[in-house]
């Protein structure tokens, strides 16, 4: 069984936010109204986290790192779900079952990384925009929690394609939208348990770190620090 993971090289990342846009479109993430955005109800599966400010005033620059669900190996969110609407799959992806979610938002309260989003309202987008939706991903109803799934629908597709071609799933068959779109090749994705995969090689870089390591959640999204230049 593979164990999917991701490495984001912050040295290569230009903070262009293409991954965020790609993610939003790929997964039909709701675009909320301005009033709701002002209230702090924006929905992103991938977003920028401002961690620091570089430089001396007035030459300052915020340091942003792209952030998504870390698909923890010890996920705190799945532990508290009362109805198993979120669970860890065998391949390590922490998945959501939208028709099962009762919307108690306990998983959001227990996520130390605050990566989950809640559908406060029904998706309000215009009808003509609907045809731009990705048909592989369900549009979530109101009142359920959602988050990044490593574009799990792409895995399904890749598996089916490999099967029809009578071969095994190879590296590069399944890549999430953010990794695919990254122009700087800053996002590596693949099987962490496969010693030959690019991601597991990059993972052993000395610049490697994960966020909030001390909590013991064992995130499967690693960063390569940018400060070692």
């Amino acid at each position: 069984m593979p164990r999917y993971g991701m490495v984001i090289d912050l040295n290569k990342c230009t903070e262009c936010e293409a991954c965020i846009t790609a993610c939003k479109l790929e997964n039909n993430v709701q675009i909320v109204s301005k009033e709701n955005a002002d209230m702090g109800r924006t929905m992103y599966w991938m977003k920028m986290l401002s961690t620091d400010v570089e430089g001396v005033y007035p030459d300052v620059r915020p340091v942003n790192i792209p952030m998504l669900c870390f698909q923890c190996d010890e996920p705190p969110c799945t532990k508290v779900c009362p109805v198993r609407a979120t669970y860890k799959r065998e391949d390590g992806i922490v998945a959501q079952i939208y028709p099962q979610c009762i919307g108690c938002r306990y998983c959001m309260a227990n996520c130390p990384y605050t990566v989950k989003s809640f559908n406060w309202f029904k998706d309000e987008q215009k009808v003509e925009n609907e045809k731009c939706n990705n048909i592989d991903v369900s549009v979530r109803p109101k009142g359920v929690v959602e988050k990044c799934t490593f574009c799990i629908h792409r895995l399904q597709k890749a598996k089916e394609k490999a099967k029809s071609e009578h071969r095994k799933l190879q590296e590069g068959d399944y890549v999430p939208a953010c990794a695919e779109v990254c122009a700087a090749h800053a996002i590596y994705f693949g099987d962490l348990d496969d010693p030959e995969s690019e991601v597991s090689k990059v993972k052993h870089d000395y610049r490697k770190f994960t966020l909030q390591e001390e909590l013991g959640t064992k995130p499967k999204v690693y960063y390569l620090s940018a400060k070692a230049e």
């Binding site: 924006t42 099962q100 605050t114």
Partner: protein, 446 residues
């Protein structure tokens, strides 16, 4: 039991609220019903459009509903727990108090237990909890213990009510059919009395651990998470102490109001309030001790994520609420209850009202700041409750008062048979008990 209709009972005052209803009652009921109805309409709106109708956002994903949930379940400890402890310790002054305490529990548990459902994004899927509930989730523990507590405390309310229902049945009048069914043919024979007493004794011991488990488990919803400010081992006992604290305060308010409205001065004497006031003072000190211990540990450890929550409470956006909570929960009760001149019935009422407000604020202080300061430095919005949330809080309060008003029209608010029993037996029993404690006179050991 004597058939005493037509005869003016010595405890006629206690029957009076059932048979006589003033116009004020209807006005108040109508007003409260309007508030309740408005709340229901707002909830239906929320049900249709989604939880976005509230003021909740990200990362503050829990708001007024969860606060009310913790608060109301806390109030419920007034009841059964206090009544059970007083009964268990054979405190004779409990007799006019226990009934009201138990009624509080019943009503408030219904209201509080409804709040998590109001808070759900998909209340239509509530049955998923039964179909595919995960016992590993604290929410499931919570549901289990609240259901157990509700069952036990309603039975515990009902059993001591049976002899009173029998009294009402014997008097005839309206609702006689209801009383006939509910009294289960109770006639007051020796055997019936014995069975009833045994049942009450068993329940009263059962109810205490259940009640404590309920609020412990509610605290675990928070403390089982990794959130700074929540992940604390003190939370179980801290919540239980807070619950009993707010419960006693609510009980005192209810008692003073009914004493005034239904003229129970002869039954609820100053001594009852003095005793309960002392109990409230003890709980206030205990609450302060827990609060102090909790925050001193946080401050001394000075962990950055914990400190953000700490400072948010002490000097940040939530500091007015925090300090108001300290004033309401500690300073006002301390001033009013430890000073003999101020420890009058109005003084005790002021302290109790302060405590109820303060304990609501305490729940606010626990729920919101931890959510508003997540571990990672995201820009955080400010949580402001919407009209929906405020009107549902008002509706919950209205439902509480309405529940009590309804109960007072059906059943006596003070346990009549226990008062009678006390009058007949207490002096004898207590003096006998006293003789057991006291060393015998003139007895010299050789």
């Amino acid at each position: 039991m004597m058939n005493n209709h037509q005869i003016i009972d010595e405890d006629e005052v206690l029957f009076k609220p059932i048979y006589q209803t003033g116009s004020g009652f209807y006005f108040l009921a109508a007003a409260l019903f309007t508030v309740l109805l408005f709340g229901v309409i707002m909830y239906i709106r929320q049900f249709i459009y989604g939880l976005g109708m509230t003021g909740m956002n990200e990362p503050v994903t829990w708001g007024f509903y969860i606060i009310s949930f913790v608060f109301f379940i806390g109030i419920s400890h007034a009841g059964t727990l206090i009544s059970a402890i007083l009964r268990l310790s054979k405190a004779e002054w409990r007799r006019p108090i226990t009934r009201m305490a138990e009624v509080i529990t019943g009503i408030v548990l219904l209201i509080g237990g409804l709040h998590p459902i109001i808070d759900l994004g998909r209340p239509d899927r509530i049955l998923h909890i039964f179909e595919r509930g995960r016992l590993q989730s604290p929410l499931l523990w919570d549901m289990t213990s609240i259901t157990a507590y509700f069952t036990a405390s309603t039975i515990y309310l009902y059993l001591p009510l049976i002899p009173d229902i029998a009294l009402l049945r014997d008097r005839g009048g309206r609702f006689n059919k209801l009383y006939q069914i509910l009294s289960w043919g109770y006639e007051g024979t020796e055997r019936q009395k014995h069975v009833l007493e045994r049942a009450i004794n068993i329940l009263m011991i059962m109810v205490i651990p259940i009640a404590i488990s309920v609020h412990t488990v509610i605290s675990w919803i928070f403390s089982m998470t990794l959130q700074p400010g929540w992940h604390s081992t003190i939370f179980g006992p801290y919540f239980v102490v807070g619950a009993i604290f707010s419960g006693i305060a609510a009980l005192i308010i209810v008692m003073i109001v009914f004493r005034k409205v239904f003229h129970f001065e002869d039954y609820l004497k100053k001594i009852h309030f003095t005793y309960l006031g002392t109990l409230l003072l003890v709980m206030s000190l205990l609450w302060f001790y827990f609060t102090f211990a909790e925050y001193l540990t946080t401050y001394y450890g000075h962990e950055p994520t914990e400190m953000r929550v700490f400072l948010y409470k002490f000097t940040g956006g939530y500091s007015p609420f925090f300090w108001l909570m300290v004033i309401c929960n500690f300073i006002i009760p301390l001033v009013f209850l430890s000073n003999k001149k101020l420890k009058t019935i109005p003084g005790i009422l002021i302290a109790s009202i302060a405590v109820v407000i303060g304990m609501w604020l305490e729940r606010l202080i626990i729920v919101i700041p931890s959510l508003a300061n997540p571990r990672l430095p995201f820009p955080t919005g400010i949580y402001v409750p919407s009209l929906t949330e405020i009107s549902l809080l008002a509706a919950a309060t209205a439902a509480f008062i309405l529940g009590f008003m309804g109960f007072s029209k059906l059943f006596p608010l003070i346990s009549i048979w226990e008062i009678k029993e006390g009058r007949e037996e207490s002096v004898h029993v207590v003096s006998e008990r006293l003789n057991e404690y006291l060393p015998s006179k003139g007895h010299i050991r050789k």
